[in-house]
Amino acid sequence: MRHRRRLTILVFVLAVVAAACTPGDSEGDTTTTTRAADTTVAPDTTTTTVATAEATTGPSGSVRFLIAENFWADWDPYQHTAQSQMRIEAQIFDYLVDVPDTGAPPVPMLATEWTQIDDRTWEFVLREGVIFHDGSAFDAADVKASIELASGATDVATLQAGSWISTTVEIIDDLTVRLTSEEPFASLFAQLRSTIIVSADDLANNAEAIKAQPNGTGPFRLVANEPARKVMEANTDYWQGAPQIQSLTWEFIGDPDTRLSALLAGQADVIDRVPPQHLQVIEGSDNLVLDSVTGIESVNLFVLPGRLPIWDENRAFREAVMRSIDREVLVTGLIQGASAVATSFLPTETLYHQVGDPAYSRDVDAAQALLAEAGVPDGGPEFELWVASGFLPRAEEVGAAILANMEEVGLKPKLVVTDLSAMIDDIFSEDGTGAVYHLSWSSNGDPFSHAFVYSETFAWFFGDERLQELIDLSATTTNPTERERVVQELQSYMWEQLWHVPLYNSDFTVARNSRLVGLDVRPNFQTVFYPASISE
C-alpha cells in the first residue's frame, strides 16, 4: 500500500514536472519599428520602371494569424487551388507583377518594365539582384520554367493551366524575356499576379523537395511546415527591404469560437473569416480592429446539368427559382459584414462589373406565375438542395432560409446538409443525387478568371455555345474598350439565361489587434503581411 501511494505521488510529480518543462511558444519581441515607404511607381500598361525601397530597421516581433481554411495541398507549384495556401504563397513567393486593385494598372515586382510587342507577345525586363531563399540568383530561366509550366505550355498538366492560355517564354538575355501566348490573352497580367515564380533549378532537380519546402524570392521564408501550422521568418535579403515582422505564423483553427477566444485572450494577432455573430464582440473591444471587404467571391446555387431536367430545358422554371429566394434577407439577416446581394454572375469587385436588370427580387406571385408558364403550377419535381456545414459562413441557416422561400412558392426542394467532402463526392459521382449545390467561386478580379467556372472546363456547363464563345472572347479580347463591351455582354447573357442562381458576394472580414498596422486585406482574400509592422 505504501509503495502504491508513493507510486501515485511519483506519477503526479512527474506529470506536473513534465508539464512544466514542456516548451512553449515564447512571445517574440514586439519592439516598434518603422519602415521607409515604398516608392513604387504605378506604370501604364505598356512600359514601366520602378525604384525599390530600403528598410530602415530590421525585422522584429511575431504575428500569429489564425485562419478558417485548412491546408488542403502540398506546395507542388501550380498543382492546387487551396485558397489558404495561395495566400501563404503570396508571402513566400513573388510574381512578375502585382495588381493591387481590380482594374488598377499592374505594378512591378520581379519585372521592372514591360512592353507590348504585338497582340500575343509581351517583353519583360527582370529585376536584377533578386535571390531565392536558398541563395540562388533569380533570372530569366526561372521565369521561363515557371510560366511555361503554369500556363500548360509543357508536357506536365497543371491545375493552374485552366485559367491560362498556353504561353511560351523566349529568353532574350539573363534579365529579359518575351512571353508569347497561343492567342491574344487579355487576362495575362491578372494571371501573372496569380502565378508564383519558382526556381528553374528546383523544378528540374528538386521537384519532390519543394513539395514540402517551398523556395521563393518573397519577403518570408517557410521554416516550419506542420500539418495545421506554417511558420515563416523574415527574408532579410528581400529585394524590397526586409519585412518588419520577424516571425509570421499561419495556423488553421476550424472553430470560429476558438479563433475569437484566442484573439480576445491575446494569443493571436489576426483572425480571418469572422462570422457575423462575432462582429459586435470585436467592435466592442478597445484594442481590436475589423477590416471588412466584399470578397471577389460568388456564392451561388450551382445546378448540375442532367440532375434536374426541367432546369436544363425551361428558363421560366429557372427564373421562378431565382425569384423565390429572398437574397436581401440572406445578406442582411444572415451573412452580414461586407457581403452584398449578387447583381451579376461576376462579383462587384470584378473588372467591368455590370449590374444586371431586372434585379430578380423575391416575388412570390411572379415566381408562381413563372411556374405556371413552365408547365408546372404544382411546383415541379422534387430535387435535392445540398449545403455543406462548416464551409461557407452560416451555410445551414442559408440553406434553411432558401428551403422555406422555395416551399412558399410551391417548389419541392429537399435540404441535404453534409460536409464539404461528401458534397463534392456527390457532385463528381455518377450516382450522385443532388441537383442544386450551395457553393462559392472566387477569383483574382479578372472577368475571365471568374467566368471560367461557368465554362465547358467545369461540370456546371450546360452546353451553351454562346456562353462559351463569350467566355473565350473575354480572355482573348485585348482591346480594353472592346473587352469591356464583351464582358458586359457576357454578364447580360448570363443574367438572362440564369443557368445558376447567384446569391451574394461574400464578406471577407479580418479582425486584428490594433498594434498590427499596415496589413493589406484584399477582396481576392489575400492578406499581405509584407507592408505590415507591429506598433507598441
Partner: protein
C-alpha cells in the same frame, strides 16, 4: 503470467490490425475522394485524375492496401497528402502532448474522485454525500464542448488568468484538465463511493476495527485496497479513451495532440494522417488495457490464478 501476456499480446496485434484495416477501407470506400477536394468543385475528370495520380489514390484499393501494410512493416506510415510531412514524425510529435494531458488528467481526476468518493462513503446520506451526488449529476449532464468554451470565456478572456488555447506551459493544462476531469470524475466518484461502502461492511474491515486498528488505517489500508480494484479498471479504460483521442478538448483548446491531428486530417481527407492517428490511438488503447490487466492481476491473486 507469461502465457497470459503472450495471449494478450496476440489479441492486441489482432485488434490493432483489424482497426487499421477497417479504417483504411472505410476511408477509401465511404468518406470520399481527396482528389476531388483538391480541385475546384465541378472540375472535369482529367484534372481530378491527375491529382489522384499524384496522391497515389488512382491505383486499385488492394494495391494501396498492400503498399500500406508493407510500409507499416518497415515502420513507414507514409506521407501527408497536404505538405509531404512523414506521418510517423507528425504522430510522434503529437503523441507525447496527448499522453501528458492524459496523465495529468488521470492523476488529477483520481485524486479528486478518491477524496470525494471516500468522503461521500464515510458520510453516506449526510450533507457532504448529498453535495457530492449533486456534483456528480451536474457534471454528468455538462457537455464538455460547452464547459470548455465557458471556462475559456471566464478564465482566459474575462479574467486573463489562463491561456485560452495551446500548450504553452503548466498553466495551459488547467482548463483542458478541468474540462476532462469534469467528464471523468462522476463515474470514478460513483464507483469509489459504492465500492467503499461495500468494503466498509466487509468482514475483514470489521475484524480490523475489532482488533483496535485506528480508523484512519482501517480506511486507507484495509478499505482502500479492496476499493481500488474497480478503480484501476476504470482509470485504465478512461486513460485509454483519453489517449485514443480527447477530440473535443484538443479541438477547442487547440491542443497539439493526436485528437486534433486526426480530426483535422479527417476533415481534409488526409488519408495517411488519419491512418497514422488511428493506429497510434488503437495501440495506446490496447497497450493501456494490457497494462491495466497486468496491474489488476498483480493486485488480485484470483486473476493471476485464472490466467494460469
Amino acid at each position: 503470467m507469461l502465457r497470459f501476456s503472450l495471449r494478450r499480446t496476440a489479441q492486441m496485434a489482432i485488434v490493432v490490425f483489424g482497426v487499421v484495416t477497417l479504417v483504411f477501407f472505410i476511408l477509401r470506400l465511404a468518406s470520399g475522394d481527396p482528389a476531388n477536394l483538391m480541385v475546384p468543385p465541378g472540375q472535369q475528370e482529367d484534372l481530378v485524375q491527375l491529382t489522384r495520380e499524384r496522391l497515389g489514390t488512382d491505383r486499385p484499393i488492394l494495391v494501396q492496401y498492400g503498399e500500406y501494410l508493407a510500409g507499416l512493416a518497415r515502420g513507414d506510415l507514409g506521407v501527408s497528402f497536404h505538405g509531404g510531412q512523414p506521418v510517423l514524425d507528425e504522430v510522434l510529435k503529437a503523441l507525447p502532448n496527448t499522453a501528458l494531458l492524459a496523465a495529468v488528467t488521470i492523476v488529477f481526476s483520481s485524486a479528486v474522485a478518491l477524496v470525494l468518493g471516500i468522503g461521500a462513503a464515510l458520510r453516506a446520506n449526510g450533507a457532504f454525500d448529498r453535495v457530492v451526488l449533486v456534483y456528480v449529476s451536474v457534471a454528468l449532464a455538462t457537455p464538455s464542448f460547452w464547459l470548455a468554451i465557458v471556462l475559456v470565456l471566464f478564465f482566459s478572456v474575462r479574467l486573463g488568468w489562463l491561456p485560452a488555447i495551446d500548450m504553452e506551459g503548466p498553466e495551459s493544462f488547467v482548463l483542458p484538465v478541468i474540462t476532462l476531469a469534469v467528464a471523468l470524475t462522476p463515474v470514478l466518484i460513483r464507483m469509489i463511493r459504492l465500492s467503499f461502502l461495500e468494503t466498509l461492511s466487509d468482514d475483514h474491515v470489521r475484524a480490523a476495527r475489532a482488533r483496535g486498528i485506528p480508523e484512519r488505517r482501517v480506511i486507507l489500508v484495509h478499505g482502500l485496497k479492496v476499493a481500488a480494484l474497480p478503480l484501476i479498471t476504470l482509470v485504465g479504460l478512461q486513460l485509454g479513451l483519453i489517449l485514443a483521442g480527447s477530440y473535443v478538448v484538443e479541438y477547442v483548446f487547440n491542443w497539439p495532440g493526436i485528437g486534433k491531428l486526426t480530426l483535422d486530417a479527417v476533415v481534409s481527407r488526409n488519408f495517411p494522417m488519419v491512418q497514422g492517428g488511428v493506429l497510434v490511438a488503437a495501440l495506446a488503447f490496447v497497450v493501456v488495457n494490457f497494462v491495466v490487466d497486468l496491474a489488476y492481476a498483480a493486485v488480485d491473486p484470483r486473476i493471476r490464478l485464472a490466467a494460469r
